[in-house]
């Protein structure tokens, strides 16, 4: 979509996104320094963003889109660290794939690496201490993080394009139809797959999940009793 965003909006999204990315970098360094055990987990979460955002999948609307993979990282490491990882992935795609571009990198970072993860993180926080099974929590948070990314993409475009007669709301709905509706089945798929990955992490190393205070021991125990 490079070039479709007017220079003013491209600059605005860069300015909005940059503080998150920079703070994310600081937090990333802190986390690695404090907890060496987190490193393999960071690798897994980051790798999933790399893999999933490279997969373009067909959807019911007759067009293709790709999942974001940011939800799990947002749950495990929080939205700021996810912002820097997402930024790196988007930078790679802008430089070598002409998928997105340098001027729109700010806008793409804002939707995929900031808004999506933030929403996913707060959904996880809201559901964390409820009775809902932890894997269901991960599923919902990941799926909504994915979907919300494209809601923001639609919003960014609706803001940037002169609305004309349909008006801003009409424009927003048009772009939601293009991006968000396409994304619904992908979001569900991504939620399910990442919930399964999370289950494997819990099975292999439950102590790292409790140590990082992602879920409590009782919650993990309860979930393991029910689902194998």
């Amino acid at each position: 979509m490079e070039g479709f965003l007017p220079p003013l909006w491209a600059a605005i999204w860069w300015i909005v996104a940059l503080p998150f990315v920079i703070y994310g970098f600081v937090r990333l360094k802190q986390t690695i320094d404090e907890n060496k055990d987190a490193l393999p987990l960071l690798g897994i979460c980051g790798a999933l963003i790399f893999i999933l955002s490279a997969l373009k999948l067909p959807s019911v609307t007759g067009s293709c889109s790709h999942p974001t993979g940011t939800g799990l990282s947002a749950i495990v490491f929080g939205p700021f660290i996810t912002a820097i990882i997402g930024f790196i992935v988007l930078l790679f795609q802008a430089l070598f794939l002409a998928h997105g571009g340098l001027s729109t990198l700010g806008a793409n970072t804002f939707s995929m690496a900031i808004c999506g993860p933030f929403l996913g993180y707060y959904v996880y926080r809201a559901l964390k201490d409820t009775k809902i099974n932890i894997y269901i929590t991960v599923f919902i948070a990941v799926a909504l993080a994915d979907l919300f990314t494209y809601v923001i993409t639609a919003l960014e475009l609706a803001l940037a394009v002169p609305a004309g007669e349909v008006g801003f709301i009409g424009l927003f709905i048009t772009f939601l139809g293009v991006f968000a509706v396409t994304q619904i089945p992908l979001a569900i798929l991504e939620g399910a797959v990442l919930a399964l990955v999370f289950k494997y992490i819990v099975d292999i190393k439950p102590d790292i999940i409790t140590k990082m205070k992602i879920f409590s021991e009782e919650q993990i125990h309860a979930a393991r009793g029910k689902i194998q």
């Binding site: 979509m1 490079e2 070039g3 479709f4 965003l5 490193l39 393999p40 987990l41 960071l42 690798g43 897994i44 980051g46 790798a47 999933l48 963003i49 790399f50 893999i51 999948l57 067909p58 959807s59 019911v60 609307t61 007759g62 067009s63 293709c64 889109s65 992935v89 790679f92 795609q93 430089l95 070598f96 794939l97 002409a98 998928h99 571009g101 340098l102 001027s103 993409t153 475009l157 394009v161 002169p162 004309g164 424009l171 048009t174 772009f175 293009v178 991006f179 396409t182 569900i188 798929l189 399910a192 797959v193 919930a195 399964l196 289950k199 494997y200 992490i201 292999i204 689902i227 194998q228």
Partner: protein
């Protein structure tokens, strides 16, 4: 039940493939291009600027062909796969030695 979770995720994957096969069969005109492309078309229609006239604000390298592009995407996914395997391998190895 063992592998209950795997079965559920498997069913969702099958359902996903199923809806794809169904929509592509009832709608043979569907091109399955990127939603970015569809979005670009909408923008062009609204602004009246043809899509081909839209140039990047900052000049950038674009893969010369779809094949090269998909190759680079595969490379990105493969890199992710290597790191993913390393991460899980480390965790599994840690558990075995404990």
């Amino acid at each position: 039940m063992k592998y209950q979770f795997e079965i559920i995720v498997g069913l969702i994957v099958i359902l996903f493939i199923g809806t794809f096969l169904y929509t592509s069969s009832i709608n043979p005109d569907a091109e399955f291009g990127g939603s970015d492309g569809v979005g670009s078309a909408v923008v062009s229609e609204l602004t009246g600027i043809p899509e081909d006239d839209v140039k990047p604000l900052i000049p950038q390298w674009a893969p010369p062909s779809g094949e090269i592009e998909s190759g680079l995407f595969a490379l990105q996914a493969a890199f992710g796969g290597v790191i993913l395997g390393l991460g899980f391998g480390y965790l599994i190895g840690q558990r075995t030695t404990q």
